[in-house]
Symmetry: C2
Subunit: 168 residues, 2 copies
DNA sequence: GAGGATAAGTCAGCCTTGTTGACATTCCAA
DNA sequence: TTGGAATGTCAACAAGGCTGACTTATCCTC
């Protein structure tokens, strides 16, 4: 974390007032609605919901991930995930392969069809993010990421970092 | 929006790569879980959920707001809001007053008891935000807010700004 | 004053997505 | 061979979204 001249001075801790914090809370609330709006619109036309989007996203992100790993990333019960996963497998969007080393495990992959849906969902979501990033500029984006990362629970942060490392 | 030397240069638009955007998307996902975790824990012990929290928050924020106004802030149907509001009124957390000028309207206020719950919920949520803000510093916080604001839909942004103006 | 518009509330029924709890199956490893 | 781990499944339930239809009360306008 970079030192900060303002907070270091002991003065001007105004960004920590309850008023500032409340604005941040409301910004999170309204922004998250925008964040999910575009994929939700696409999914509404199908028989899928946000839970399907999440599963598809993380299977795409970590091809071959096990059900257990996905469970701990998503933070839901296996029954809840299983319902979603079952429909995705039935509909031919996700493939479940028995593990080679440990045959109890199932490794999850997107099919061609699944990858196409993933693409259309993430395109929609990225378009909005891209517009926001462009409007705010790279310095703001860095701050955005810093604050979000500091808001995560430790175990969520671990998942986030693991995913991050694989990526860029 | 301040000019930005990096993006202005036409070079180094690296912060707009799909990889960067995906990281931002995942940061939003994991951070939002943290964002709601603390109030959720408090609410789980009561017969309330996140929907009650949202209603309480915005009634606190805009005392005397009408049902219609609350509906458009929350972006849900009146049936959905009504279910929540009814329990809050029955339990004596919210008071509904007939409008003076227009008697069709109901103006919503938190009772003493409602204000107490609001306080405990927002204390919990603010604690986490404060820690994140402090860890990231004021410049990061400014960027955080900038990006979130740029992610909002126009009508959400309007509500956000209206609330913001009343506050600080 | 009548009629249409508006604000709020309500009933019924549906869907998604979360939860518990119980239990079966399969397979690895001690 | 037996215990535990990973997975899958059934049943039941709850929160909180949704639509549609309808009532009541209150404006507001012609």
């Amino acid at each position: 974390m970079p030192d900060n001249p303002i907070s270091q001075s002991g003065q001007s801790l105004l960004f920590l007032t309850d008023e500032q914090l409340r604005k941040g809370i409301e910004a999170m609330f309204f922004a998250y609605r925008g964040f999910t709006a575009d994929p939700d619109r696409i999914l509404a036309d199908m028989e899928y919901g946000r839970a399907h989007h999440r599963a598809i996203h993380f299977i795409h992100r970590s091809p071959g991930t096990t059900v257990n790993n996905l469970l701990s990333i998503l933070g839901v019960t296996k029954q809840s995930l299983n319902r979603v996963l079952r429909t995705l497998i039935e509909d031919g969007l996700v493939e479940s392969r028995v593990g080679k080393e440990d045959k109890r495990e199932r490794h999850l992959h997107l099919t061609q069809k699944g990858a196409e849906l993933e693409r259309s969902l993430s395109d929609a979501q990225r378009d909005r993010m891209r517009a926001a990033y462009r409007a705010a500029g790279p310095i703001a984006v860095a701050g955005f990421r810093q604050v979000l990362e500091a808001m995560m629970d430790q175990d969520l942060r671990r998942h986030y970092d693991t995913l991050k490392d694989r990526g860029a």
